[in-house]
């Protein structure tokens, strides 16, 4: 079977997200109901979710979600984990038999904490240490794929329609302050479990509707900074670009949005001088991270969420508010499916990020 990147994938897709700014818990079944309304935007070859605040009992540990093709991959990975992390808890991720979801890999979850002496030896801080370990597993252990490795968050994904994926992972057993969801429509590829969205590194997760025409330029650029694109799909590269810009370069989310969806030079020229200088600086400094082609993305991270369209707004994106909850979706109907009575509904402009964060007093 050919995996992604060995064939071209023009994709359709649906995305949606829920963010409760006061931290009040949202059941995983709610996001599943929202994405299910956009069933026709996917074709059953990939569905997935990211939940934040779902592991309060283990919130100080990295939650690793790993697919294994076989027992050997698991043994090898566990040996590696044992020598680099303190494993607090490990188990299979609870799943339910769903008729439409087949060929499931072994799916395991580990709550871990990096070994202190290993971190000291490496002279890295713990996020970088953990990220490097996960990239190493994905690169070097055949048949093992870490698809989620953040704290107090988790990605759940599979080949199938998103509503079936939610049932498979028993999403109604989880509650979190934020959720993103994705329904996939890869038309030229078999689709496989690792290639479903969200893509995540540490607590940063991305769901994406679109097709990145700058993929190869972006891939070459992130590979200069020690990332490896194992999956050869465009969304993976967005995750690494954002991780690089935000975590390593220290850019704000707004600045990162100005890099990946940089305005046209003609648009920059219309801005006042200070803003034009700032935008031109970001565009020149990080030119290889400009993402061209159609996209709408939702970026989840600890305590917040960002929605962003390409600068031409070639994919739909609707934002809505009700009380302390913000909703995002490819289609307004998917929001109204879970909250018919909205305070406000709007479509953000292309290239203009919409960023929501937990209120200061929110407890999660």
């Amino acid at each position: 079977m050919k995996k992604e990147g060995e064939v071209r994938i023009p994709s359709g897709c649906a995305i949606c997200g829920i963010f409760s700014r006061d931290g009040s818990p949202v059941n995983g079944g709610t996001i599943a109901k929202s994405i299910a309304l956009m069933h026709n935007r996917s074709n059953g070859l990939g569905g997935g979710f990211a939940g934040y605040g779902i592991y309060p009992a283990y919130k100080d540990y990295y939650a690793l979600h790993i697919f294994y093709d076989n027992l050997k991959a698991r043994e090898e990975t566990e040996r590696f984990l044992d020598s680099h992390f303190d494993i607090i808890n490990l188990s299979k991720i609870p799943t339910k038999q769903v008729e439409s979801i087949t060929d499931a890999p072994l799916i395991w979850r580990y709550f871990v904490s990096p070994l202190v002496h290993k971190i000291q030896d490496s002279q890295l801080e713990e996020n970088e240490y953990t990220a490097r370990c996960m990239i190493r597993i994905n690169n070097s252990i055949d048949g093992a794929y870490v698809f989620s490795c953040g704290k107090n968050m988790g990605v759940f994904k599979a080949v199938g329609y998103p509503e079936d994926v939610a049932e498979f992972y028993r999403l109604e057993d989880y509650e979190g302050y934020a959720w993103t969801a994705h329904g996939r429509y890869p038309t030229n590829t078999p689709g496989w479990w690792g290639g479903a969205h969200p893509f995540a590194l540490l607590d940063l997760s991305v769901v994406h509707n679109g097709e990145i025409s700058s993929y190869d330029a972006n891939r070459r650029a992130v590979e200069m900074y020690d990332y490896t694109c194992n999956l050869l799909t465009d969304t993976e590269v967005i995750t690494y670009i954002l991780d690089y810009l935000i975590r390593k370069e220290g850019l704000t989310l707004e600045e990162s949005a100005n890099v990946i969806a940089a305005p046209f030079w003609s648009t920059i020229a219309m801005k006042d001088q200070e803003e034009a200088t700032r935008l031109a600086y970001l565009r020149k400094m990080y030119s290889s991270f400009l993402i061209t082609g159609p996209f709408s993305i939702l970026v989840g991270f600890t305590g917040g969420m960002m929605a962003l369209n390409d600068r031409l707004k070639l994919r739909s994106l609707v934002v809505a508010e009700k009380g302390e909850t913000t909703y995002f979706s490819s289609e307004e109907a998917a929001i109204r499916a879970i909250e018919p009575d909205l305070d406000r509904v709007w479509s953000p402009a292309g290239g203009k990020p919409v960023i929501v964060r937990l209120n200061k007093e929110a407890i999660v």
Partner: protein, 241 residues
Amino acid sequence: MKTIDAFKLNEEELKQEIRNNQDIEVDNCLGQRYLGCALKEGNIKLVGTPGNGLAAYLDGASIYVKGNAQDAVADTMNGGLVAIEGNAGDALSYAMRGGKVYILGNAGYRAGVHMKAYKEKRSLLIIGGCTGSFLGEYLAGGTIIVLGLNCKPGMKLTGYFCANGMYAGKIYLRTDEKPVNLSDKLEFHKLDRDEKEEELRPLLEEYARIFHLNLEEILASDFSVIEADPQKSYKQIYAAV
């Protein structure tokens, strides 16, 4: 008029009901695609949020939506009337060939791209609020009117690249402010009193009546028009030499 509940039907059944009933009200619309496509006659009222591709290829029927519509409303519409008491999404009235589309609220990106007109077919798109970028791109005929009603102060009626590549038809804006980066192949001028009375009033009468708006108040504002500059035709670019 027959009233049906969209919750109780699947998408195919719903489309069938609409096709089989000339006068029908559909409550609880939620994301069902291609409602009212290519219908030649009838009066259809949709309550809720109908899905993408509403009224595509519409060919004479009237569709009234109480709620917001999503993307690709009135794609390649040929005749009839679509009135939306709410917002419309992206790619509204793409390549529309005839008939009337009235939006009370805002429209998204790429509204009225490549609209056309031919002989008695005169496509008309009126947007009560503001629009996103690429309004009327490649406009080949017909009329677009953007009113900017209830838009927040300082908000522009149009986004970037308004009327880019336009070579026929007219775009009226209820402002005297020129859209940003308007192509130098286009002419922009403020309407005088006579032009407003003769050109605009007849176009806006039905719109104001349907949405219960005060036409005199609307017409009291400044209006401008964008037209292709006949001296700067695209012929010179495309013609074989």
